[in-house]
Subunit: 280 residues, 2 copies
C-alpha cells in the first residue's frame, strides 16, 4: 500500500488562529470559560477543550455574569455580542478574518442597494451570523433551481460562504447574470479552501481510494468528500482512526489522505499509523 | 413546405433609430451628406442610401468642410468627433442608446480602477470606438483561452459588445471569477439581441432548416447563425433572396426564417415570397 497525503492538510489559518486564542485564554483563566457553540467543527479538539475545563453552551442565557465567553471561528452576530455585553461577559472573538471580510462585504452591498445573494448552507453558523448582521436582507442559495426563481433585479451582489465549492460558485454565478443588469461578485471563498479543493482533485487522479478526515458537521470537510466523489474515486469520510474499516482497503491500493481545515495533525497521524500497521 | 418566422425578426430599436435619423437628415439636406462607414451592417439598406445621394467614406479627411456627417449606430470615438468638429462638420450621431450605455459603463469602470475586460470582436466598429473612448485601457476577449492568460487582478469589470452571445458571456464570466477578488459584470448585451437569440433556439426545435437573413459583416447576424448551428439545425446565411438555392430545400421541409437586427422587412419578404413561389 502506498499512502499519499494531499498537499493541503491539517489546520487552516483561521482554525489555527481560533484554537490558539482559545488555548491562551484557557492558560490565563481556567475558571468560568465558556464557548458559544463549538469554536471549530472538530469534535476531538472540542473534547480536549472540555477536558481543560471549558463549558460549551448554546445561548448567552446559560452563561453566568462576568464569565469569559469565546465566540466561534464561524462568526458571531451583533445581537449575540450585544447580549453578552449587557451581561458584563468578557468577550473573546475568534472569528476567522476571512469570515469577517465576508461580513463587511455583505454590509457594503446591503447599504448600496444590491439584492444580496449568498451561496451557502442556510443552517451553517457562518451563514446564520452573517444573516443576522445584515438583518436577514439576503437570499441564501445552494442550487441552480433556487437561482431560477429569483425575480429580475437592478443590481445583484453575490458572495459565498468561505468554505463552499469554487466550481459550484462559478456555475451559480453564470446563472445569476440572466437575472440582472449588474452582477457584482466577491469571491469570498477562502483561498486556503480553494487550494485544498484543487489539491484533492490532483490527489484523486493518483489514487484508488481517498480517506477524508474531519468533523461530520464541518462544511469544508463535507465539500472535500463531495469533490472526491465527483472525481469518481471511492471516498470515505471519517472523524477518527476508529471509524476506519480494514475491509475498505486492498494491500495493492494507493490510498490518498486529506483532511478538513479543522482536523488536528494528531488525528491525521493516528489514521496514517493505523493504515501502516495494517498493511506494512 | 411550412414556413415559420422567428418571433423576433427585422430591425431592432437601435437600427430603426439610426435609419430614421439618417432618412430625416437626407430629406432636409440632400447635398453633401456623408456617412463615416456604413451606419448599420446591411448592404441593401446602405445601397439605398447611396442611391439617395449619401457618400460613405472611411475617414474624416475625405469629407469636405461644412458638410453633414452621420456617424454609425455602432458608436463613434471621441477622437473622430473631435476631428469632425475641428473641420466644422455638422455631426449627426446615430449611436444606438444601448451602445452609449456600454461606453458610459466602461468609462466608469476605468475611472474606478477596475481591470476592464470586454467580450467582443476586436475589429468590430462598436469595440474599436469603445476602446478609443477608454484610451485602450481594456482587454478584449472572445475565448476562454484568452481569459486563462489573464493575471490575477484586485478588481475586474466585465462587459460585452451589445450583440454577443449571452450563453458565451455567461461561460466566460464564470471563468473570470478565478482571476480576481471582485468581479463586477454589467450585462450589456442588448435585451433585443438576447430575445432574438432565445427565439431562434425555440425556432430551431420546430424546423428542419433555418435561413438567417442579414449582412455578412453584421455581428448579431453571425451570432444567430452560430447559435442555430449549435442547435444542430442545417443553417444557411444569406443577404438577399438571390443567394438562396432551390436545392437546399425539400417540399416536405419545415423552414425557419430569422434575420439580423439590421435586415429590413422588404429583404425578408422577398425571401419568403421566393420560397412560396418555389414550393407552393
Amino acid at each position: 500500500m502506498k499512502i499519499i497525503l494531499s498537499k493541503e492538510i491539517g489546520f487552516c489559518f483561521g482554525v489555527k488562529n481560533s484554537v490558539s486564542i482559545a488555548t491562551k485564554v484557557l492558560k490565563e483563566n481556567k475558571k468560568s470559560v465558556y464557548m458559544l457553540g463549538p469554536i471549530i467543527h472538530n469534535p476531538q479538539v472540542m473534547e480536549n477543550f472540555k477536558k481543560e475545563g471549558v463549558r460549551i453552551v448554546d445561548r448567552v442565557e446559560e452563561i453566568p455574569e462576568k464569565s469569559t465567553v469565546i465566540t466561534r471561528a464561524h462568526g458571531v452576530s451583533y445581537s449575540i455580542l450585544h447580549q453578552a455585553l449587557e451581561k458584563n461577559l468578557s468577550i473573546v472573538d475568534t472569528t476567522c478574518p476571512y469570515v469577517k471580510k465576508v461580513q463587511k462585504i455583505a454590509e457594503y452591498l446591503n447599504k448600496n442597494n444590491y439584492f444580496v445573494v449568498i451561496f451557502g448552507d442556510k443552517m451553517h453558523p457562518e451563514i446564520v451570523s452573517l444573516l443576522d448582521i445584515i438583518n436577514n436582507n439576503a437570499l441564501v442559495v445552494d442550487k441552480v433551481t433556487e437561482i431560477k426563481k429569483i425575480k429580475y433585479q437592478k443590481k445583484i451582489g453575490f458572495i459565498s460562504q468561505t468554505t463552499k465549492n469554487i466550481y459550484n460558485f462559478e456555475k451559480l454565478s453564470s446563472k445569476l447574470l440572466d437575472k440582472t443588469e449588474e452582477l457584482r461578485i466577491f469571491n469570498t471563498i477562502c483561498k486556503a479552501t480553494v487550494e485544498r479543493q484543487k489539491s484533492v482533485i490532483k490527489l484523486a487522479r493518483q489514487v484508488d481510494i481517498i480517506v477524508v478526515i474531519g468533523g461530520r458537521k464541518s462544511a469544508n470537510t463535507s465539500r472535500l468528500v463531495e469533490i472526491c466523489r465527483q472525481q469518481g474515486v471511492k471516498t470515505y469520510h471519517i472523524e477518527t482512526k476508529d471509524q476506519m474499516k480494514y475491509k475498505w482497503f486492498h494491500p495493492e491500493d494507493n490510498v490518498g489522505i486529506t483532511s478538513g481545515a479543522s482536523t488536528p495533525d494528531w488525528v491525521i497521524n493516528e489514521v496514517i499509523n493505523k493504515l501502516k500497521e495494517w498493511y506494512n
